[in-house]
Subunit: 308 residues, 2 copies
């Protein structure tokens, strides 16, 4: 039976992985998750993309917002604010459990990958969730307001500052988490989720050994383009591409992943464009579970044509 | 105007301090608070007696239970339990704000006394709240189940194990927090709250310099007996006294505080007993705010007779 490995960031990537889980046995799927967004707030270790995937796959997520828990309460934030605590990052009461338990486990010397596997196990998630690395890698954005941490840029400043460069502090010394290279080399299909290529996928590719493994992998590698009609669905992809000097085209996405991917799944609106790589089309907008299944199935079907 | 210093533990002591705040300007009151119950759970620094006093004096407390926040939610505990986290100690969502912010401030190098003053300030508490020490002192109970940490004995084991001895780990190396000795030496009246003498007041007296300052203080020192009708109102005082071989009498309480106190305020039910020290009587049961004011006023009036 085929094994699928997906490189993914946050909300958009989690939708794709959920779609995959509905068209194949979840235990055959490995998600390699961006941890470049991870940060520390109030001494708590927060892994937003891992948590988004965990909530999405466990069914405990807020399906309206796409991140955080469903039926969340906010008493902690209110109390912390009354004591002068920060309130720029939303820490739900239930969400805190992940952060507090993760922080405590890290302090005991457990690795992020073991902690993540334990959380997934406790919540009945059969998909294998791997952080890209157990080492700290921090996405930093050089902007007209100076160099910003990812969460400062993304949450506190709402992507308003103009970006000129992105780098991943700590990446050169980081190692892929246990299982990451094996999941790439052993996969029958490899997908790159329609997450932000610069902010969510590049940190994964920046961990030494991962890009090389993708190039060496026997499996076809298909990326799902984050662009629809020359725009990003959500988040700062389009704005960033403009600021970094890339045209808002699938050709630019294909060029970004050149050497890594064998094909690009693009939105049907964009089929007139030739991305300069093997491509397939579907409606890539994922509004509901049906869409998620369809996009996942289209990516898998496309990959099968590349394998032959 | 007179300055009052109170040595206090948790719930019972907080009631007395609240009563005092209603009969005199709160900013003239200094509470020296037991921190022998302090412990770490999930990496969070928890100071139960400081928090009980903070909640009580700020009006944010749960007046039914006598500890914790009012209008508390419990989403964190539920989520943590679903991840295999401990559930023997109740951590409310809003309560977590104190623990998370305190832990973070301690990590930054702030002292518990500064942190406590900041919390009190943020919540408009005018009473000066001092931890007995900024150093770690941990109450340990020797029982028929072995040596237990305070919270294990008190919360997890509900005081069921039979105690044979109590000691305060770290006390001999601890220093009184800044302001503690000054609050004792500069007070016009010193009260010892009707907290558990063995578990809540003894840790304070075990910090080097505090008992000596109480003996040297010019102010009269009045303890309010925790016994009513030869029983403790709440908590393990009576059970502990039996197990430690003390008769359940005010004489035993007076003997315990011998050399420290000048007088004992006892319950009117117990006035036939002579505690062997100067004493006064009132109804010492504190059900409501009126009771708290009455007991505080009785203690202050008694102290005035001792000063003359």
């Amino acid at each position: 039976m085929s094994r699928v490995t997906v490189l993914t960031g946050g909300v958009g990537g989690a939708k794709l992985v959920l779609g995959l889980c509905h068209i194949m046995p979840p235990e055959r799927i490995t998600a390699i998750v961006n941890t470049g967004d991870d940060f520390s707030l109030l001494g708590l270790a927060i892994s937003p993309d891992l948590d988004t995937l965990l909530y999405t796959l466990s069914g405990k997520g807020d399906t309206e917002k796409g991140w955080g828990r469903g039926n969340e309460t906010w008493t902690f934030m209110e109390a912390a604010a009354s004591l002068g605590g920060p309130n720029w990052f939303q820490l739900g009461d239930g969400d805190l459990a992940l952060h507090v338990l993760r922080t405590e486990a890290l302090r005991r010397g457990e690795t992020l990958s073991v902690i993540t596997a334990n959380f997934a196990g406790a919540w009945g998630v059969a998909t294998k969730m791997l952080p890209m690395s157990d080492d700290l890698v921090a996405t930093k954005i050089t902007t007209d307001e100076g160099e910003l941490d990812f969460q400062t840029y993304f949450v506190a400043r709402r992507c308003v500052p103009r970006a000129s460069a992105i780098h991943f502090a700590g990446a050169s010394a980081a190692q892929p988490a246990p299982g990451v290279l094996e999941a790439i080399m052993g996969a029958d299909t490899i997908l790159i989720a329609p997450s932000n290529p610069y902010l969510s996928v590049d940190p994964i590719l920046a961990v030494p050994g991962i890009a090389k493994a993708l190039r060496a992998a026997k499996a076809p590698v298909v990326a799902i383009s984050p662009l629809i009609g020359g725009q990003s669905v959500k988040g700062p992809t389009a704005k960033l591409m403009r600021e970094l000097g890339h045209p808002l085209t699938n050709e630019a996405i294909a060029a970004h992943y050149a050497g890594i991917i064998d094909g690009l799944l693009i939105d049907e609106q964009d089929q007139a464009q030739n991305p300069g790589i093997l491509f397939a089309c579907t409606d890539t907008l994922m509004r509901d579970l049906g869409d998620r299944r369809r996009v996942a199935a289209a990516a898998m079907a496309f990959a099968r044509t590349l394998k032959a």
